[in-house]
């Protein structure tokens, strides 16, 4: 069994999944890629949208989530913060 993911890691996984799909992703794909339950994913997506790290887009193809500039900045900062928090055992 894998190690329990911290909140910071889950946010990174969600944003990375969107970025790696070219910047936008369908909710079903995100659910699969983020490895979360449906309810958890909804909670995280809602929080990330509140914090403007991702946005929701609706077109003919259906609903999609897109990563914002703030979300891309998070991915740049993530490695630094992760190294820092790991050093103190968070």
């Amino acid at each position: 069994m894998g190690e329990r993911r911290e909140k910071l890691d889950i946010i990174k996984d969600i944003l990375e999944a969107i970025r790696d799909k070219g910047g936008s992703i369908k909710p079903t794909h995100l659910l699969y890629k983020s490895n979360l339950s449906h309810d958890s994913m909804k909670r995280y997506v809602s929080e990330l949208m509140d914090r403007e790290l991702l946005a929701e887009l609706e077109d003919k193809a259906g609903k999609r989530f897109t990563i914002t500039d703030k979300g891309l900045k998070f991915l740049t900062d993530y490695q630094q913060i992760k190294e820092f928090t790991d050093s103190f055992g968070f």
Binding site: K7, R51, Q80, S87, F88, G89
Partner: protein
């Protein structure tokens, strides 16, 4: 005996300069932890940041008071500082608050009342008692020993250089407290050893911060 102007006379003032190094390191850690709070939204990073901010504030006060006593910048200020130990009391308050927060976060204590109890007991044991200089450093030794042990456990799990540096820095800070205590009954020169160990501890933390900020790019290249 107060916390201010300790150690041999030739060394007085030098420790105040070192104090500014501690302020810089503590505030850098506070800033980085605040950044972690902003991007993750997790409260523990906020409290960790607050702990190091309070520590920075305490060291700034310590250095400023020592410096103003040495330079006699204001006779009124020097008079107040030497009559009452209020600067020392504020320093103790800030340091204990900072370390209580660190203990709560590092040991993942979820009950806030436990934190309040630790803080109150530490204050009662020091400020309202005889020989508070000694008691202050003995309590700090215990707190730092617990933190160093926890950071050692973290190092054995993570096995990376940064966690080793954090453990080494807290180990040095713990050792410094032994010399601060011994200085009272053995020799004033031990105060110099204590201050140098404390400086080394903070410089080790500073090196860890440099690795986190700049080492990543180098390792990638």
């Amino acid at each position: 005996m107060t916390l201010l102007l300790n150690g041999p006379q030739w060394f007085q003032g030098i420790d105040a300069i070192f104090g500014f190094v501690y302020v810089l390191v503590a505030l850098l850690i506070a800033a980085l932890s605040n950044k972690a709070y902003k991007i993750s939204g997790e409260k523990k990073y906020y409290y960790f940041s607050l702990a190091f901010f309070l520590m920075g504030l305490a060291f700034a006060l310590y250095s400023f008071v020592n410096w103003s006593l040495l330079t006699h910048i204001s006779p009124l200020l020097s008079g107040v500082l030497t009559t009452f130990d209020f600067a020392f009391v504020i320093y103790i308050l800030l340091i204990f608050l900072a370390y209580t927060l660190l203990i709560i976060i590092t040991f993942k204590i979820e009950e806030s009342k436990v934190g309040l109890l630790i803080f109150t007991l530490m204050l009662l044991l020091t400020i309202f008692s005889y020989q508070y200089y000694l008691k202050f450093h003995i309590i700090l030794f215990i707190l730092l020993f617990l933190l160093a042990h926890q950071f050692y456990t973290n190092y054995t799990e993570k096995k990376n250089t940064n966690s080793l540096l954090v453990f080494i820095s807290f180990y040095l800070l713990t050792c410094a407290e032994i010399f601060y205590v011994s200085m009272v009954h053995v020799n004033q020169l031990l105060y110099v050893v204590a201050v140098i160990l404390q400086l080394l501890g903070f410089l080790t933390l500073f090196y860890m911060l440099l690795r986190v900020n700049y080492g990543r790019e180098k390792r990638k290249a």
